[in-house]
């Protein structure tokens, strides 16, 4: 039987372990590799994420399509020179998410979390928790195990790709994973983490995948940025003891149903949504008129 959020929370509560610890033990069991090896492989991913943030922060160049680039630098300068309205925790996460998504658009080295289109959200929140709350790399690595447990439920009960389920499956899943992860890393219970996951996902249900010119840039980069603030909002609610009135597994099932019903024009084909605005169409026309870079 496929694991659900309910079954995972129940297992964690019975054994008095975190969701991250549950996923780490599961991976040891299924792979036959040692705990140390698996932890090391996950930590390698964290280090690649942190490097992508550093690379993206000071890079003012635009992408080949000229649809994105340089905004992480702008956000960084702004948040260094003034007190951003959204406060240090969220503004740091926004900046790091933007840096990662811009690195991705420029063919930088990244970690798909769970996809390349939603690459910025988890690194954004993790880097912010490190910078603002002093969490060390080992703690953040355990956070990635928690994130992967949540993503594993989404992937097996719904979707994690825009082509299959719309943006709700990419940015939605990634934001929900981040919300649960933040909650766990801030000492919330597994049950609270599941509520945070549900509340984040509920706020992104129905989001369509409508990339301009079919590229992972507009609106993807900024949706990654804003996903971080939704994740923190959902985590804060869960940590305050607020619950999702619809259980997490039912929310995930709903995302699946909505994605199945969503028309193909809104699932990464660039045939609908923002891709079909006058400006979106003009950007596509210009891009594909340019000679290829042979």
């Amino acid at each position: 039987m496929k694991d659900t959020m309910e079954s995972i929370v129940e297992a964690c509560t019975t054994q008095d372990i975190s969701i991250g610890e549950w996923m780490l033990r599961r991976e040891v069991e299924r792979s036959g590799s040692s705990r140390r090896q698996i932890f090391g492989r996950m930590q390698e991913r964290l280090l690649v994420m942190k490097q992508a943030v550093r690379d993206g922060l000071h890079d003012l160049t635009e992408t080949e399509s000229r649809l994105s680039g340089g905004d992480a630098y702008r956000m960084h300068q702004y948040s260094q020179s003034t007190a951003p309205l959204s406060g240090p925790v969220i503004s740091t996460a926004m900046t790091a998410a933007m840096a990662t998504s811009e690195s991705n658009a420029k063919m930088g080295l990244i970690v798909a979390t769970p996809t390349a289109g939603s690459v910025g959200i988890l690194p954004g929140v993790l880097v912010s928790l490190q910078d603002n709350r002093g969490l060390d790399d080992d703690t953040l690595t355990m956070g990635l195990f928690a994130a992967s447990a949540i993503g594993y439920v989404f992937a097996n009960h719904a979707f994690i790709s825009g082509a299959a389920g719309g943006c709700q499956a990419e940015i939605g899943s990634a934001t929900a994973m981040a919300a649960g992860t933040i909650t766990e890393l801030q000492q919330g219970t597994p049950e609270q983490a599941a509520h945070a996951t549900a509340m984040a996902m509920k706020s992104l249900l129905g989001l369509v995948c409508d990339p301009v010119a079919g590229l992972v840039e507009v609106p993807c980069v900024k949706r990654n940025v804003i996903g971080t603030s939704i994740a923190f909002s959902a985590a804060d609610m869960a940590l305050a003891g607020i619950t999702s009135r619809i259980p997490c597994d039912e929310v995930i099932q709903t995302m699946h149903t909505i994605g199945r019903d969503m028309p193909g024009s809104l699932k990464e084909t660039a045939e609908g949504g923002l891709a079909q605005t006058p400006t979106g169409k003009e950007a596509a026309r210009k891009l594909y008129q340019r000679p290829c870079t042979l």
Partner: protein
């Protein structure tokens, strides 16, 4: 289950921007590289979505990088054109907006030679960095090039089997 490992969710480590239009495409190119050794000449045909959006996704650099022996997590994929020039790889790109009957929209067809040997392989990048090779020298096949697959071992193994022996 399609997704079983924590690294199916947190991963792969890859050069951006797209797991389906970049990472998986590198693997298809690398399959041909590992089949032939150093490739000297290649005709690359991109079909469907790859033909229409390859520039913004770097799919051209991805396939060349793979043909030069690079992996999806090798940052040098970005400089594949310069590397191809250095190594004397002659390439010709063709773009076909449709997809061959019954094939995946992200199909790549490679007709390649090392001088001593040649191979004609078709594959598709199906998402999440996973690619399939479905035809080699006119023979139908279904070789899964998953994330982190050891492509060199896979080609060595297949070349020992009928009908490629």
């Amino acid at each position: 289950m399609e997704f079983d490992s924590c690294f199916d969710i947190i991963g792969p480590i890859m050069v951006g921007p797209s797991s389906s239009h970049t990472a998986g495409v590198v693997s298809i190119g690398k399959f041909v590289h590992d089949w032939l050794g150093d490739v000297t000449d290649v005709t690359i045909t991109f079909y469907g979505s790859l033909a229409s959006t390859y520039q913004g996704h770097g799919s051209d650099k991805a396939v060349l990088g793979g043909l030069l022996g690079l992996s999806a997590h090798d940052i040098n994929v970005r400089s594949a054109y310069a590397l191809a020039k250095d190594k004397g790889l002659r390439y010709d790109f063709r773009f076909c907006p449709g997809t061959p009957g019954g094939c995946h929209p992200n199909t790549v067809d490679l007709q390649a030679s090392s001088g001593a040997e040649s191979v004609h392989a078709s594959g598709a990048s199906i998402g999440g960095g996973v690619a399939y090779i479905y035809e080699i020298n006119g023979h139908h096949t279904a070789i899964n090039l998953g994330t982190g697959a050891d492509i060199l071992s896979i080609t060595a193994h297949i070349k020992k089997e009928a009908p490629f022996r």
